[in-house]
């Protein structure tokens, strides 16, 4: 069983705070990663994702809580006995060893039979297309090849769990997309539990079976990619996942004539009938209204596939950024601005007025105090 469990895990770095106090890098992390799952830990720099990964590897010791690999608590188990393999951000290949030696180093230390070592290295090399370069040294390889060697070094171990610390961040954009797809295929083929750390939300969305979004050492939400995208648990997750970020507007819940609306000052958005009962306590209360740029449409657009659209809202188009198939629009309503991504066939020019509608089924409401989602 290659499952990994964090149970109330804390990691504090003593003496690293501003006043010499401790910094909490990981705060009460509870997370279960299932066997054979591809779990992505995502978040901005310093959110604790790499620390969490290093704690699984045994390179950091947690200050409190338990970490289980399979059924076994590994709190006091050394890295070599945890049956994990790690791919580092800068690959960490041994520069003075050939590719073959790099890949077989761990196996030699386990006193495996030479034939078995050769078999495993050759199998991994074949899988990753590394056969022609087995005798070369890392310095003679390109970035992409080194990345594959680092993967190969992990694969030959046949571990319970793969740990990957931003393994694609050093590749150029083109190679990154290609390797991303290869990693997904590799995971499906090997079926080994993989925990993948990245700050890139596109990688998180495309690769993970589930995504764990972290911020400030705290797990914000853990769910399948589309669940996170469609139903973010709080404003941080809503703003972090999705490019461009979700638009947020301060507003107040109002009720007039049986219709509940969110009044954002420059515009008001009706609340779906099915959700009105949950908003009973919020009437007259401040809220934060959120809508993704992709859920905003030019009024009358035939691309709108949603169930219910809001009333047209008049905005001014400041700048449009054509991206080919879509255009990113920077709009102003009153003194508020918003971003929309629409199909490139709209005809409004910069500086002109533009009527837009929201897909009401995909709007969000947050509590401004706790920043948690109301719906």
């Amino acid at each position: 069983m290659g499952s990994v469990t964090f149970s109330n895990v804390f990691k504090r770095f003593e003496g690293s705070g501003r006043s010499g106090g401790s910094t909490t890098a990981v705060n009460d992390l509870c997370l279960e990663i299932n066997d054979r799952e591809f779990m992505v830990l995502v978040g901005p720099s310093g959110c604790g994702k790499t620390t969490a990964l290093r704690m699984i590897a045994g390179l950091e010791t947690q200050s409190d809580g338990d970490i289980l690999i399979g059924e076994k608590c590994v709190n006091s188990v050394s890295p070599r006995d945890r049956d994990i393999a790690m791919v580092f951000q800068n690959y960490a290949l041994y520069p003075h060893m050939s590719v073959r030696d790099n890949m077989s180093f761990a196996l030699k230390l386990r006193n495996l039979d030479k034939k078995e070592i050769d078999r495993r290295v050759d199998d991994a090399a074949e899988l990753l297309g590394l056969q022609p370069m087995l005798q070369r040294r890392p310095g003679q390889l390109s970035g992409g090849q080194r990345q594959r060697v680092a993967l190969g070094r992990a694969i030959v171990r046949e571990p319970q769990v793969f740990l990957m610390d931003e393994p694609l961040s050093n590749l150029d954009a083109c190679l990154r997309v290609q390797t991303r797809a290869e990693l997904i295929k590799l995971h499906r083929r090997l079926g080994i539990t993989t925990i993948y750390v990245t700050h890139d939300q596109v990688e998180a969305m495309t690769m993970g079976d589930r995504i764990a979004v972290m911020s400030g050492g705290v797990l914000q939400q853990c769910a399948a990619p589309m669940e996170i995208y469609n139903h973010p648990a709080n404003m941080f997750v809503a703003g972090f996942i999705g490019t461009p970020s979700m638009n947020f507007f301060k507003g107040t819940v109002k009720q007039a004539g049986g219709q509940m609306t969110v009044d954002c000052g420059s515009f008001a958005v009706p609340v779906r009938t099915s959700l009105q009962s949950t908003l009973g306590d919020w009437i007259g209360q401040p809220v934060v209204f959120g809508v993704r740029p992709s859920d905003i449409y030019p009024s009358g657009s035939n691309h709108f596939q949603g169930g219910a659209a809001s009333q047209p809202i008049t905005t001014v188009l400041d700048v449009s950024e054509p991206m080919g198939d879509i255009v990113t629009l920077y709009l102003t309503i009153g003194n508020q601005s918003m971003v929309a991504t629409v199909s490139s066939d709209h005809s409004v020019k910069d500086g002109q007025a533009m009527d837009i509608v929201f897909d009401l089924d995909k709007t969000h409401l947050f509590d401004p105090e706790t920043e948690k989602a109301i719906y």
Partner: protein, 314 residues
């Protein structure tokens, strides 16, 4: 194309290996751009450097020149200085065989090499091990110990000479090579400092990767860190070799048996017994420094070559 450009960027070591350096012809423009010096400025700089090199080279030149002269030639030119006086005419090559047989230099050479080999092994092994501890392992009061270790460099050897001598005599090591060899196995602050700085620059991920691969601390040191530290180790080895080769005071204090003399000490003995024979003394001295010059020619590459930490992206 992508791969090539990536390789060029990643494969760039701290200092480019000779194969990657531009050829002399194509490099002049690059050099000019790099240093920002014109041809005239280069000429001026080189002239100044040559001028400064003369005082350093003059005694060496005088030594080699004297070693090839007869006594008559040596004293004939002593009253007035001229450049022509440096050229022996005729060159008396016979001084060399005479000089070599003036003392049992073969034995001295054997003794010296024996000491050099052991002290180099000792100094490099012990210093690299201690430096590894300072650079890669966390322990309480590490910085205090490091500063303490560094501060011992400031203690002049003359200060500790007598207590150290008393200690070795108490150990009954006087008259043996042990006082010259054993301290080398206890680490030298300068090498420890040098290696600590070097190890600190090696990526921590290498150790972590090895740790996950199943290596213990000593194996990480021996199989990962040491092979990557060859340039720094070579520097330490060369310094130690030179130190032992040139060491005069050590053998003077601790060695009393002529069969254990080293070259430096044996040469000094020659001065006291054959003081007037300048030509053969200078021939011996020339022979004494030749191995050092040869060694430097062979090892200078390890000083200038960069370190191959290219297995990591950064």
């Amino acid at each position: 194309m992508i791969n090539n450009s990536v390789q060029m960027e990643i494969g760039k070591p701290a200092k480019a290996p000779s194969s990657m350096r531009p050829t002399q012809k194509s490099s002049s423009a690059m050099q000019k751009r790099k240093s920002g010096l014109s041809f005239g400025e280069h000429l001026l700089a080189h002239s100044a450097l040559l001028l400064l090199a003369i005082p350093a080279l003059l005694p060496l030149l005088w030594m080699v020149s004297t070693s090839l002269k007869s006594d008559k030639q040596i004293f004939a030119t002593s009253s007035k200085f001229s450049l022509g006086a440096f050229i022996p005419h005729p060159a008396v090559w016979q001084n060399y065989p005479v000089a070599v047989h003036a003392a049992p230099f073969g034995m001295y050479l054997e003794n010296t090499i024996f000491l050099c080999v052991l002290t180099v092994i000792g100094a490099v092994l012990s210093s690299s091990l201690v430096a590894y501890g300072f650079a890669r392992i966390d322990f309480p009061f590490k910085n205090v110990f490091f500063m303490l270790m560094i501060s011992t460099m400031a203690i002049p050897p003359q200060v500790s000479m007598i207590p150290v001598f008393a200690m070795f005599r108490w150990l009954h090591w006087y008259g043996t090579y042990l006082p010259l060899i054993v301290p080398a196995f206890c680490g030298a602050p300068f090498y420890i400092f040098l290696l600590t700085q070097f190890y600190r620059n090696l990526p921590a991920e290498l150790s972590e990767a090895a740790r996950i691969d199943g290596a213990g601390e000593f194996r990480i040191f021996w199989q990962i860190i040491l092979p990557l530290s060859k340039p720094a180790l070579a520097t330490c080895a060369l310094f130690q070799f030179l130190g032992t080769w040139n060491d005069f005071v050590g053998p003077l204090i601790y060695i009393n048996d002529p069969s254990r003399y080293t070259l430096a000490y044996g040469l000094q003995q020659l001065v006291s017994t054959h003081g007037g024979e300048w030509a053969s003394l200078m021939a011996d001295t020339t022979l004494f420094i030749v191995p050092i010059i040869i060694l430097f020619f062979f090892t200078q590459k390890s000083f200038v070559s960069g370190i191959a930490t290219t297995g990591s992206k950064n």
